[in-house]
């Protein structure tokens, strides 16, 4: 008797549970998501323009684009988990450095044909095109560009007796200018970096190495080049800025929040940052600033080609429309919207028409973008962008602790073992 009741209760519970899952099943499988919307994931750092762009599309298309903004710091994890679980978006705007990784794992749709048919194919940023290619196939289109340059405070340059129209063009000139600016006052600093930020240091430090003729990875991404003489020179350059006292104490532990704020406060002479910072400073309208290319040891210049690519996901429910949107995003209308919102366009064929006329300083950024470079690796995140990864660790220890040779040797080992362990 007792047993039978327990059984009955059990059966009841089971049926309730089944009912529950049945409801859940039908709920998650909403019909219609394939008919009229394309879902787009972007990072919160793109908040300023991504909705304006979606609105521009939605105004004259029947298919609507729905934007979801994901926190920048968690984008890779969130997108990776969602893609693995089949709950990802139709279209994703992805930081180009992660493209080889996502392409290699098969979560992105192969859009080689679409890319090859674009009439302005060769006008798209070369670095973006390279990063979107995996095993000869194309998995994304260039979307937004970023370039790393040197921002300098013209007011402080004048005060220190430096020519505000002649920014430094090699390591020695930066070191001496920083020293003169530091001498202006107790709270005035010459040069600041974000010493504990991976993204910042791949973006701002590698250009010095490239401009001096070196590199950080071999072209195929299979060998780390952390222990090369060009890296030593660049580390020595940063170390000197620190030992001279030109760098503030916060630089050692800055994860990227202090560096721009310091420049905005008007108490920092020079800092390497990206194109995104220019509209911010323009809006502030407090600091009289100039923009210069990041130089190599004895001159020359280079830039990191950053920004985003836009990709259709493998599990996209609305592939045809998603592809149409992705193509539209590289077109003149969309790229003009980006330019007007302070983003460097990826169309080198249009840049002089839609971007550089907006601000004389944009010319430096446009040129930097066109010859920008990006390390290609499926483990870029673990090598460079990880705030505790080998790249940041090497820079941090070399610059602030001083044993450059040891930092390079250990950095090289750690980086190579990450590359070797990659699947």
């Amino acid at each position: 008797m007792r047993f039978r009741r327990a059984m009955a209760a059990g059966a009841l519970l089971t049926s309730v549970a089944l009912l529950g899952t049945a409801c859940g099943g039908s709920g998650s499988d909403t019909p219609g998501s394939g008919s009229g919307t394309v879902t787009l994931w972007a990072r919160d750092s793109q908040k300023s323009f991504i909705n304006i762009l979606a609105d521009a599309w939605n105004k004259d298309h029947d298919t609507k684009v729905k934007v979801t903004v994901v926190p920048s710091a968690n984008f890779v994890q969130k997108f990776g988990t969602a893609a693995a679980g089949g709950t990802g978006p139709d279209v994703a705007s992805i930081d180009l450095v992660y493209l080889p990784y996502f392409a290699s794992t098969g979560v992105l749709d192969d859009i080689t044909d679409l890319a090859n048919k674009l009439p302005y194919k060769d006008g798209l940023s070369a670095a973006h095109r390279r990063l979107a290619t995996y095993n000869g196939r194309t998995y994304a289109l260039p979307f937004t560009a970023e370039a790393s340059v040197l921002f300098y405070n013209k007011g402080l340059f004048r005060k220190a007796g430096l020519d505000p129209d002649k920014p430094p063009t090699n390591y020695a000139e930066i070191i001496s200018a920083a020293k003169k600016i530091r001498a202006l006052g107790k709270d005035t600093y010459g040069y600041a970096i974000a010493g504990q930020c991976g993204g910042c240091n791949v973006f701002e430090f590698t250009p010095h190495i490239w401009a001096s003729g070196g590199d950080v990875l071999t072209a195929d991404g299979k060998k780390a080049l952390f222990n090369t003489p060009e890296v030593t020179d660049a580390l020595t350059f940063y170390r000197k800025l620190y030992t001279d006292g030109s760098m503030p104490a916060q630089s050692k532990t800055d994860t990227g929040t202090i560096q721009p704020a310091l420049f905005q406060s008007g108490k920092l002479g020079m800092t390497p940052l990206g194109a995104f910072f220019l509209p911010v400073l323009r809006k502030d309208d407090k600091v009289d600033f100039g923009v210069a290319p990041l130089p190599g040891r004895n001159g020359g210049s280079a830039s990191f080609a950053g920004g985003d690519e836009i990709a259709v996901t493998k599990n996209a429910k609305n592939k045809a429309k998603a592809q149409e949107f992705v193509r539209w995003a590289t077109g003149e209308q969309a790229q003009t919207v980006l330019a007007q919102n302070g983003i460097v366009p990826v169309r080198t064929d249009l840049i002089d028409k839609i971007y550089t006329p907006l601000d004389p300083r944009y010319k430096v950024l446009a040129e930097a973008m066109e010859k920008g470079r990006t390390p290609y690796s499926t483990v870029e995140n673990a090598l460079f962008n990880d705030n505790n990864g080998p790249w940041v660790r090497m820079i941090n220890r070399a610059v602030f602790d001083g044993d450059i040779a040891k930092a390079q040797k250990e950095g090289q080992q750690a980086a190579q073992s990450i590359i070797d362990d990659a699947p």
């Binding site: 050692k252 532990t253 705030n387 602030f400 990450i418």
Partner: protein, 299 residues
């Protein structure tokens, strides 16, 4: 004859049913949020399981790798160091505060509330608050140090591994000590005052009363508080993630931080699971030892 018999049976059955009904939600929750993920974790730890892409069975290879993983070893050593610093600080301060607010003096209630207040602040929020306070050039802690002659406004507290850890330990103490106080207070209040009075009449001093009467009677609570605080410290993550970001130069990466990096920066979920399983074994062993030590000395 049969009727009352059946009624008692069915009453028993009903009670049993009620019992099942009442425990089911809890069991379902535990199954869903503990047992299922736990078994999945163990299963994943036996695989090469990237975040995206194919996984394959590799047996105990992850565990063998973990034993030679120098980065994980460094993280574990740091975690132990952190635990050894935090636990006594929290414990002594918690006990001192509990003794202070134990008696029903005026204001005791008020101070109880004040000491307890930080406990209700979220750990991440508290970490951000302290991160700001100790930020060089802008934080009030630098100003204070300047006035007291302990340092200058431009001192970067997070630039040295020891000072960075001490700032985190201070934050955690401020945040958690109230809870320890409250737990110890309930323990203290369960000790009958007669015992203490008897000791006093027998001529025991304050210190002797504390050492030979109160502490032994407090043992069950001590066990609870210690297990609590050691487990919490061994699982530390948020405070370091927010305040030091693992720096300077990776010197403040805890075991859980390393698991996070393995899983979500290197995307090796399988290896991350293996590290989690190892951490869990250590945690279970440490807690069991603590409980055993504090119980067996009872006899």
């Amino acid at each position: 004859m049969t009727a009352p018999h059946r009624r008692t049976l069915s009453r028993g059955g009903r009670r049993r049913l009620t019992g099942i009904a009442m425990t089911t939600p809890a069991l379902a929750m535990i199954t869903l949020f503990f047992f299922v993920p736990f078994v999945m974790m163990l299963w994943m730890s036996l695989h090469d399981w990237p975040l995206l892409g194919q996984h394959r069975f590799i047996g105990l290879k992850n565990y063998r790798h973990a034993l030679h993983d120098t980065e994980f070893r460094t993280a574990v050593i740091f975690t132990v160091k952190y635990t050894l610093v935090t636990t006594p600080v929290l414990f002594v301060l918690g006990l001192a505060l509990a003794l202070l607010v134990r008696h029903k003096r005026r204001g005791a209630r008020f101070f109880q509330a004040v000491y307890f207040l930080p406990v209700v602040v979220g750990l991440a929020s508290a970490a951000f608050l302290w991160l700001f306070m100790f930020q060089s050039d802008i934080g009030p802690a630098g100003d204070l140090a300047d006035h007291l002659g302990l340092g200058s406004r431009t001192t970067n507290w997070f630039a040295g591994s020891t000072s960075a850890m001490l700032v985190v330990v201070s934050m955690v103490t401020w945040k958690v000590v109230g809870l320890q106080m409250l737990l110890l207070l309930t323990g203290l209040q369960s000790i009958p005052t007669e015992v203490e009075e008897a000791a006093r009449i027998d001529g025991a001093s304050r210190v002797q009363t504390f050492r030979y009467v109160i502490l032994p009677l407090l043992r069950p609570t001590l066990a609870l508080v210690l297990v609590f605080s050691v487990a919490g410290s061994l699982l530390a993550f948020d405070q370091f993630y927010v305040m030091t970001g693992g720096g300077p130069a990776n010197s403040t990466i805890t075991a859980v931080y390393e698991i996070y990096r393995t899983s979500f920066i290197r995307f090796q979920l399988g290896y991350g699971s293996a590290l989690s399983a190892l951490l869990m074994i250590v945690l279970a062993a440490v807690s069991a030892t603590q409980l055993l030590l504090l119980r067996s000395s009872d006899r």
